[in-house]
């Protein structure tokens, strides 16, 4: 089936034409559920519910949507709604089920990181989780502050390394990253693990207090 242009879908929805719903579902339902499951490791049931909410929000707010640059504006808008919904679910899970536990579930670390490096990662996750719990009632953008350390550390890396780490965490294909960075695919594949390791080392070097805090806790508990 030929792909329906976004402009047509938007116009149908704005006119109240039910065909727009069918086209929207055809374009996004399975695609976004796939993202939830494969990229964000959500269970299928939660993913389906989340995507239904995303598409419902699109339908309810399409009257206020406007194309400014081109046909791709709509896709970016849908993906922004999607990102916000995934974030809300991730926050909810962090508050109710605990994020540290989720990080340990299905962990594919394979001993790649040293004990102190792991401790730093765990401490950042714990702080982020605590900030969500603390600020739950404050409604002033919880969580993002605690993750600014990630952005700050990435900013200290070379541009291609930064792009590689950001994009691979979201499963952007190596071929696309090669286009953005100008580096060959093979080199990116070889260097990915090393760059990741370097990133963790930088985090550990820049934040020794995280290691001490974790070690201190362990000593105290012992």
């Amino acid at each position: 089936m030929a792909r329906i242009p976004n402009k047509q879908v938007v116009q149908e929805l704005k006119e109240g034409n039910p065909l727009g719903c069918r086209h929207l579902i055809g374009l996004y339902q399975e695609k976004l559920v796939s993202e939830c499951v494969t990229v964000f490791n959500l269970v299928l049931e939660d993913s389906e519910e989340l995507v239904s909410d995303v598409l419902l929000t699109v339908v309810q707010n399409v009257h206020d949507f406007e194309f400014k640059r081109g046909d791709g504006d709509f896709h970016l808008w849908v993906l922004t709604i999607f990102r916000n919904r995934v974030r809300d679910l991730a926050r909810h899970q962090a508050i109710t089920a605990g994020l540290v536990e989720r990080f340990e579930e299905g962990d594919s670390d394979d001993g790649q990181y040293s004990r102190s490096e792991r401790a730093v990662i765990d401490e950042i996750v714990r702080q982020y989780q605590d900030s969500l719990r603390d600020e739950r009632s404050l409604d002033e953008g919880p969580g993002s502050g605690k993750l600014r350390i990630i952005a700050e550390t990435l900013d200290k890396m070379e541009s291609w390394e930064r792009v590689l780490l950001r994009c691979r965490a979201l499963d952007v294909p190596y071929e696309d990253i090669a286009t953005y960075t100008g580096k060959p695919v093979k080199q990116l594949k070889v260097y990915h693990a090393r760059v990741k390791k370097r990133f963790v080392k930088m985090l550990t070097d820049n934040h020794p207090e995280f290691v001490q805090r974790t070690t201190g806790t362990e000593t105290h508990e012992a």
Binding site: S52, R83, D107, S144, A151, R166, R168
Partner: protein, 198 residues
């Protein structure tokens, strides 16, 4: 795909807006193959849910016709029709037809539409939506009338004009109104001219 703790941490930073991929992720999603195939029942269930939401939202947000808008403004702001048609440069009879959605917006010049936009401090998109809807209404009104008149002749000869008009409006709001290509072209040309003078 399996993600290690660093990937997960970066994902959370992305979700919280602490970092961005500068559209790289969004572009990748657009190109990606579907990994999870859902059943037809699930698709239909969502379709029903969306259609209901769309119907509700459309009823609330559907743009007014130019006529409905002019009548509302006249009533709310106590402006005389005379004042309006003089300021936008329309003949009185043309204005009266416009106020009752009896004339196609295509018969009004882009310049006059721009003056209407300025006079009522309208957003271009708002005006464009009203012009589009009015044109559809005017274009399809004869078809509605013919259909409804046929029904009228068979079932209820005493049906009043106002009832017929109400039925036409209901039919219009529910019908899918695809203009013929030449009409679409003419309308888009006018809308472009209106938008050009932002």
């Amino acid at each position: 795909m399996k993600h290690d703790p660093v990937d997960k941490l970066i994902q959370h930073a992305y979700l919280e807006g602490a970092i961005t991929t500068r559209k790289a992720y969004e572009d990748a999603v657009a190109k990606r193959n579907i990994a999870v195939v859902l059943s037809e029942e699930k698709r239909i269930a969502l379709e029903r849910r969306l259609e209901q939401a769309l119907a509700r939202s459309h009823q609330e947000k559907v743009p007014a016709t130019v006529g409905a808008f002019l009548q509302k403004v006249k009533a709310e702001q106590s402006i005389k029709a005379q004042e309006i048609f003089a300021r936008v440069g329309l003949a009185p009879n043309v204005y009266r037809m416009l106020e009752h959605d009896r004339i196609s917006p295509l018969k009004i010049s882009a310049e006059a539409w721009k003056k209407i936009r300025t006079l009522f401090n309208l957003q271009t998109d708002e005006l464009v939506a009203m012009v589009r809807r009015t044109h559809q209404l005017v274009f399809f009104r004869p078809s509605f009338r013919t259909t409804l008149a046929r029904y009228d002749a068979k079932k209820n000869k005493g049906m009043k004009a106002s009832t017929l008009e109400k039925a036409a409006s209901e039919l219009y709001s529910k019908a899918r109104l695809d203009l013929p290509e030449d009409e679409k072209e003419k309308l888009e040309k006018l809308l472009k001219s209106i938008a050009a003078g932002k």
